[in-house]
Each structure stands twice: as structure tokens, then as C-alpha cells.
Symmetry: C2
Subunit: 246 residues, 2 copies
Amino acid sequence: MKEQEATPDRFAVSGRNRLKRRHDRGRYDHEAVYAVLDAGFMCHVAYVIDGQPYCTPTIHWREGDWLYWHGSSASRMLRHLAKGMPVCLTVSHLDGLVLARSGFNHSANYRSAICFGTAYLIDDPDEKAKALLGIVDRFFPGRSGELRQIHGQETKATSVIGMRIEEASAKVRAAGVGDDEEDYDQPVWAGVIPIETVIGAAQPCPRLLPGMEKGAGLAGYRAGRRLDDTLLEAQQLYEGEEEAIA
Amino acid sequence: MKEQEATPDRFAVSGRNRLKRRHDRGRYDHEAVYAVLDAGFMCHVAYVIDGQPYCTPTIHWREGDWLYWHGSSASRMLRHLAKGMPVCLTVSHLDGLVLARSGFNHSANYRSAICFGTAYLIDDPDEKAKALLGIVDRFFPGRSGELRQIHGQETKATSVIGMRIEEASAKVRAAGVGDDEEDYDQPVWAGVIPIETVIGAAQPCPRLLPGMEKGAGLAGYRAGRRLDDTLLEAQQLYEGEEEAIA
């Protein structure tokens, strides 16, 4: 794919986000990128301070084409955000180990989304208050209404960072072994070992009030279920609620 | 912890890798950092080209205090490696979602390792050949001996990148809910939802030779087992073999 302008459904493609190899695995449309972002709880954020790159794992959430994450007001990154900071935010899922008959054809099944933008500190009080509810409700729909209200001191101690996705790409491999034709008679086991990230049995806090059950917003977090499925569902519920309020 | 020199068992601590917050969760010793690195199949590498940060997911492997990863010789990063390139390589594991009685005390259980160094292209033929076996054997002990030999053209098409870990930190949260004392009577469910990354049932290649069984190096990849346990075990087996050869 060549460089091109954004469309309503697709991010722009530039030298920055264009896949340099395996173009067959790449997508630039919103749907593909959001599917990877929304299926993940953690992301990795790359940024630069004085020429030194940092790669920080954190929790992200998405509202339309904006990504948010948060940090302590004491964190390294935050002192550099005032004027906006170029950032690359990546979400990856490992789906399988692909064992081929040659070392070269070993691979992995995965989904990844790489997003570029300029990160800003969200310091408008209303926008920040909304974001601090979003970080709970996006993962656990409706939960913020069950919690005590956020104290002013807590709002002060938490920084919310936001970035509009300027450019992005998604890359997916979901396939079996691809060996060279002449290698299929090699006497070695080959195949895919699937990998899943799953939810375990909930461990209630020992100081739970008697009879306290999980709220409706936690219904999706059933033991044994894939986390990515639950997170995708939670994002849809969250977007539905947002629309209902608006 | 203040800035300090490296010791035989611990990385140096500088302004670059020193934790800016939650010092109680941080460790700088090799053992803690390697435990996180070795438990992971994928990492995220941050690097800078013309001021723009990139965050690339890839597969890493470790030999002592060196980290390796590989890429196509056509990749974006490789054109900039000749003189060495500052890099930050991070491995993260999500272990649980921590649901508290206030939004502020929501958290995650996780393990992360952040490593700083200078990345170089491994172009010495012997060193590169050894590394291309290492990427297979580190994950699947002894497997490279079962595969056909690597073709010269494949070696040419693959670039191996290596970096000595100059500084690193590990950060771990593995705990229950920590609410403010006055919040424990809040009528809401609180607790930990554990998250695990597990191995699924192997899917043999449809073109497997009749009667072909998985080799001994795949014994650790049993369905239902945690991937991090298998990877830690594989690294120990790999290091044992390395010692036996040396």
C-alpha cells in the first residue's frame, strides 16, 4: 500500500505507519485497529526524553479515535507533556507459537496495533473527571456508579494523558505452518501451539461486606473465558452507555 | 533507592532506570529482571528515528546480560543500527485485575522489566549463526538439531539485533485489594480477578509425516499449563545445554 490520505473509515498511511514488510498482514482501517486495541488491557507507550527512548507498560482506554492512559503526577513522562509529546502506543496479543520444519519458517500468531500521535496532559477539569470515570467503566461497565466518589486529592494525584490517533496500523497473523515445499518431508513435528489469555476464578476481598455480590458490570468476567472477548464486549457496552447518555 | 554503581548481581541505578514512584514494587537485581524477561515470549522495543518514537512488538531471547531479537533485513529499525542505537526493551505480564471500593485504588497485578541499552546489528557470521539457533532452542530446547539446516539465503534475509543490558528495573505487584480504611464499608464487590496466559491443545500441521510425535524439547508445552512457567523452564534447560557444550 502506498502513502495516502485518511478516509472516514481508515487512518492515513505515511512513511511512519506503513508496513515495511508482510503487507499481506497489515490493515489501516479503524475497525481492524480498534479490534486489537479494545481486546487489550495493557499497552506499551514509547516516548523520548533527551534522545533516550522509554517503553512504559500501562493501561489504556479508547473513546472514538482518542486513546487515554494515566499516570502518577510524579511520573517521568509527565514533566515533558506540556507542549505535546510524540508517542507511539502499541497493543499486542500473542495467539500461538508456530513450529515449522525449518528455523526460518518458525513464527507466531499474533495481533498488534501500533498507533502514532501527540500526547497531551488532560487538564480541563470536566474532561479529566469524565476520563477518570471512563477508565473504570470502560473495563467494568457501570461500576463507577457503585463506588464512592473520587476525592479532589485523588484527582490531583492522578494525571490523565490523551492522544488522538493520527496514524495507525494493525498487523495480524492467524494461520498454520507455512513451510517451504521441499521441507514437508522433514521428520520433525510441526504445528501450532495456541496461546490464550484467560480469566481465573475471582478472589473476593477478605473484608467484603456480607452477601456482597459482583455487580452487573462484572458479569463478563467469568472464570475460564478469554480476556480479549470480555474486553471487547465491555467496550461495546461502554460505548452503548455513552450513546444513551448523549 | 539512590543512584548507584552496578554490582555482580545488580544493575546500576541511574536517573534512567530508577523508579520514580512505588519504590516498594521495584527491584534492580539480575535475578528479578531475568525472571520477568525469561517468562515472556514477546517484548516491546522502543527506539527513535528522527525524533519519532516507535514501539515494536517482537520476540526476544536472553544470553546472560545480552538480549537478542530479530527482524527482516528490510525493517525500519535496521537501517539505523550501524553505529548502535539507544533502545528500551520492555516485557510485561498481566496477572490480575484489582477491583477496589474506589476508582483510585483500582489496580492491576503485573510483572514488568524495563531494560536500557545500545542495540547493534549482529553481523559476525559465527555470532549470527549461533544466535539463529538460539532463537529456536531457547524456546524449544534441542529443537534446532531436528530441523533442516539454515540456508545461507535465510541467514542473509534475517537480521539479528543484540543489546547488552546496561540498566534495568523490574516492577511487580502481586497483592490483594488495598482500599482506604474508611472505604471498607462501601457496599460494592471488591477483589482480584486473576489473569493467566495458558497453552492450548497443540494443532498438528495437516501435512505431518505419519507417526511424527513432538520432540522432547516440546514436552513443557502441555495444554492448560501457564506459558510463563513453560518459558522459564525452557530457559533453564537452554542454559544447562549451553553450559554442557562450553
